[in-house]
Amino acid sequence: MTETTVTSPKLDATWPGSANAVGRWLGQCLTLAEMELRKLRRDPTELLTRAIQPALWLLVFGEVFTRLRAIPTGDLRYLDFLAPGVLAQSVLFIAIFYGIAVIWERDLGLVHKLLVSPASRAALVLGKALSAGVRALSQACIVYLLAWLLGVKLNWHPLALAGVALTVLLGAAVFSTFSLIIACIVKTRERFMGIGQILTMPLFFASNAMYPVAIMPDWLKAVAHINPLTYEVDALRALMIQGGATTYGIGVDFAVLLLVLAALTTVSSRLYPNLAR
């Protein structure tokens, strides 16, 4: 170690010009996502344990309700109707508990280290959102596999698949950013777990994931309409399933998700530095 040869002793930590600000900003987001991908590659067991829940929903709930024909889903078989909902649900579960990982990073010193880097706060937050998206995409592969095994009529058109991937990324980004905001406020794992559990079920049930909004009582309809998950499921239903249709239009779905993401990112960029105080 004492024999170290110093090849570039010049201290050149510099202030980058504004010329390629956007590229640098995107680079910072992608770097955080790359970090997540590398972790996932080193320990893929989580992917398998996370596959259990969607498998149960599709296999047990889906199969039984398909036989019952209790839920009016138009021309779609119930299982086909449910598959996008289950995909959205597993994305939601991954994303909403993402704050735990951030609290973990805080208990170590990683958050401090990230916040002292030249990366912008918004880039750090969106990088985290993209990381959740990476995880969510790996989960989407598993849901597709399960759905295909159960005979769900999936739409394999490349554009439809790309649309699903984009929706999954957006959905994961929305709910992980929301999760980050909660993490910044509660700051401890114990409190976070409680709140996370309180939130997930209402978000899931007050959406069109398992049944159409049309059959809901009015008060629940109102809740479902302000629930971003509804728009995520709506887009997924149109893109993922042969013969699937959107209620609000894919343009509206994406617009709502993007707007919510922009608002949540703005708030969490402001709150994120609190984690290091």
Binding site: M1, T7, S8, L11, T14, L110
Partner: protein
């Protein structure tokens, strides 16, 4: 040239004044030590200087940039190794370096060479591909120093760099810190509550007690000021703060549980 300058730097948490009108200067190229027992406000000072915590009053400039008004410029000029563990245990040493090289904007053409050099510098070339959770505490610290040098910061902040390390690992960290100052010309700002560490490493120290500056100068000057030739830095400390480090405050519950957790995590 002054690379760091604070004037009346103050931080309050509710009724508690953690840092009270601190005036400090650090020259380019020196190893500067901020000494004090746990709870003296050392970490609060570092957090304000690294832009993590806004000051309640007063100002600080680093490399000519104001920490409050130009935080992004300050961040681009400094490196920081927090007291807590700041590497990702689920990644290899190499991957940790790669991610931070990218995040710190080390140009693509320099990345590979810088990482190789940092690994060599910290004696981690052989362990580079192993997951960090298998590293010893000393190896983790050396990796953190390696990460902090990737972007060649002008000023490097080290918060309790040898906390929880055994004597051999401490020596290795000291060697590394000295090399960063000598070979790279980096200015080092470190906090410690170990007097031998300050004596060994620092050209100049400041003693912080209950958020206030109690004394400052080179270790030799401070010892001389006590009036007898063979004074130790421990005695200097006791003289200026009114208590010895041996009966230091133990830190609060959170500090202790966190330190223990981190040590346990590192195995």
């Amino acid at each position: 040239m002054k690379i760091l300058e604070t004037t009346g730097l103050t931080r309050r948490f509710g009724d508690l004044t953690a840092v009270d009108h601190l005036d400090l200067t650090v020259d380019e190229g020196e190893i500067f030590g901020l000494l004090g027992p746990n709870g003296a406000g050392k970490t609060t000072v570092i957090k304000m200087l690294t832009t993590l915590l806004p000051p309640s009053a007063g100002s600080a400039t680093i490399a000519g940039f104001d920490v409050r008004r130009q935080p992004a410029r300050v961040r681009a000029a400094i490196g920081y190794v927090p007291q807590l563990v700041s590497v990702d245990g689920a990644l290899s040493g190499y991957e940790n370096l790669l991610i931070f090289a990218k995040l710190y904007g080390v140009p693509r053409t320099l990345r590979r060479q810088r990482i190789a050099e940092a690994l060599d510098f910290s004696g981690l070339s052989e362990a580079a591909r192993r997951e960090v959770r298998g590293y010893s505490g000393g190896m983790v610290r050396r990796l953190e120093l390696a990460m902090a040098m990737l972007h060649r910061p002008r000023l490097l902040f080290l918060d309790e760099p040898t906390g929880g390390l055994d004597p051999v690992a401490r020596q290795a960290v000291w060697r590394q810190v000295r090399l960063l100052a000598r070979e790279y010309g980096m200015t080092i700002f470190l906090t410690t509550h170990f007097m031998d560490e300050a004596d060994n490493l620092c050209g100049r120290v400041a003693i912080l007690n209950l958020g206030r500056l109690a004394a400052g100068g080179s270790p030799a000057e401070l010892k001389r000021s006590l009036g007898h030739a063979d004074a130790t830095l421990d005695e200097v400390f006791a003289h200026f703060t009114g208590h010895s480090l041996e009966i230091e405050h133990d830190g609060n519950y959170r500090d202790i549980s966190q330190t223990r957790r981190n040590l346990a995590r590192l195995g």
